[in-house]
């Protein structure tokens, strides 16, 4: 599974970092870092992060990049 964050939408609520700390990480107060390739054991947590993003900026799927434009 792949994950993409639309950083133009992201407002730093950090819900994804709470829910999937192995995949999303904050550097400093606002800079979001993430690994686009989601390990199998992190799948469910990433999907929770997608649902929880208050500005709907996180996209996941087998081809997340394709739909995230």
């Amino acid at each position: 599974m792949h994950v993409v964050v639309d950083l133009n939408r992201c407002q730093g609520y950090a819900q994804c970092v709470f829910l999937a700390p192995e995949v999303f990480e904050l550097h400093g107060e606002e800079a979001l870092m993430y690994s686009p390739e989601v390990p199998e054991d992190q799948r469910e947590k990433v999907l929770r992060a997608v649902a929880a993003c208050p500005v709907q900026a996180v996209f996941a799927g087998e081809q997340a990049g394709a739909g995230a434009g």
Binding site: A14, F18, P21, E25, L47, R48, A51, A52, Q56
Partner: protein, 409 residues
């Protein structure tokens, strides 16, 4: 009777508690409605969202033209919690607290609670035993968040019951019942807050002498880049977290079970596929938000909202639950749809004051509902609508009696 000037009176009337949504629809028709007492009610999504991001809108009770008492103040002379402050002071205090709750400094504290949370939920469900009738509030939705927030902060298990009693008294003091003398409840609430503050202050002292790995130890001992919370700030902040982490989640879980039982298809779908639960929790936050409105905002200047000028210093009440059902933002807004897309609800507010505990509330509710769905075989609501708590702000059932077939897993 149905003048828009009386909307707030009608919304807060206890008779409206079970179904305030027609009144919210009426409010949206007006967009912004000036009330007979000079306050302004806002119920449309775009206007609420804009105001929540507007630096001219204050959360500080002192910004009111008419003096306003902070319902969460510990006592005269104590600082106000960050929920009732504006930036930069709000930002400093919130950052000092957030540092020990979440990323970037403590990214795993909430995630690490998950296993224990599941265990607590399972234990509570085991406690149902062979009972054919349950009260989902008293038997489950109430004890779960209290236990979790106490565990997170570091309140010893032996003191949880006492904290519980205090929190209950404080929350009772937040209710407004128009035709009742608020003074006795207000005084009891103030005493409970002061007692809770003293207790947490002493507990923090103890954690300074002997630190453990809970959040209170971290708050009491750490010297981060923003310095340290003073002792009064620490007391006020931890009281805020205890109360906020308590009541709202109880209502989210209870409103959630009530809504799912009223929508058996969604109930069965979620039971069969728990991976749908995160989306369902978001839909519950939109459809039946545990905080219905924010009563404490005040414009710092004359501002224009939806064509109406709201004068500086007047009470501004943002009705989140009305914005969540705004047809201009959500398709078919009165429909409960657990697979709804583009669900940017206002259930946790928005902007700089957005709910601090949202990640914890999401996790607790997901685990709570998943556990209950697995354990309740053939559940039936015994009272619909159920008896509600008094508060129109923190709205939820006081009891949620259900019948079930014992057994299940």
């Amino acid at each position: 009777m149905s003048s828009p000037e009386t909307l707030f009176r009608r919304i807060t009337d206890y008779a409206s508690r079970a179904d305030p949504y027609p009144l919210y629809a009426e409010l949206r028709e007006h967009g912004v409605a000036r009330q007979e007492d000079g306050s302004y009610l806002v119920g449309t999504y775009d206007e609420i969202a804009a105001l929540l991001h507007d630096p001219r809108v204050s959360s500080d009770p002192h910004s009111r033209a008419e003096p306003f008492r902070d319902p969460l103040a510990l006592q005269e002379g104590m600082p106000v919690s960050f929920i009732g402050q504006d930036d930069p002071e709000h930002d400093r205090l919130r950052r000092l607290a957030m540092r020990h709750f979440g990323p970037p400094h403590t990214p795993r504290r909430v995630d690490a609670l998950q296993g224990e949370l599941v265990r607590i939920a399972e234990e509570l469900a085991d406690g149902f035993g062979d009972k054919e009738r349950l009260d989902l509030v008293d038997d489950f939705a109430f004890p779960l968040p209290v236990t979790v927030i106490c565990r997170l902060l570091g309140v010893p298990p032996g003191d949880v019951q006492q904290v519980h009693v205090w929190a209950d008294t404080v929350v009772a003091g937040l209710d407004f019942t128009p035709d009742e003398d608020p003074e006795p409840r207000r005084r009891a609430s103030l005493e409970a807050r002061a007692a809770m503050g003293r207790y947490l202050g002493e507990l923090a002292e103890e954690r300074r002498r002997r630190p453990t790995d809970d959040m209170l130890s971290a708050l009491a001992n750490d010297d981060g880049p923003d310095g340290r919370l003073t002792q009064p700030e620490l007391m006020v902040t931890s009281v805020l977290l205890l109360i906020a982490g308590h009541e709202t989640t109880v209502n989210l879980i209870s409103n959630g079970m009530l809504t799912l039982m009223r929508h058996p298809e969604a109930f069965e779908k979620l039971r069969a596929d728990p991976t749908l639960m995160p989306g369902a929790v978001e839909e519950l936050l939109r459809y039946e938000p545990p905080v219905q409105f924010l009563p404490q905002r005040t414009p710092l200047a004359d501002i224009e909202v939806g064509g109406v000028t709201v004068p500086k210093g007047s009470p501004l009440i943002l009705v989140l639950a009305a914005g969540n059902r705004d047809p201009r933002r959500f398709t078919d807004p009165d429909r409960f749809d657990i697979t709804r897309q583009d669900n940017q609800h206002l259930g946790f507010g928005s902007g700089v004051h957005n709910c601090f505990g949202a990640p914890l509330a999401r996790m607790e509710t997901r685990v709570a509902l998943t556990t209950l769905l697995a354990r309740l075989v053939g559940p039936r609501l015994l009272q619909d609508p159920p008896e509600y708590r008094r508060s129109p702000v923190l709205r939820g059932p006081r009891h949620l009696p259900v019948a079930r077939t014992p057994g299940g897993r």
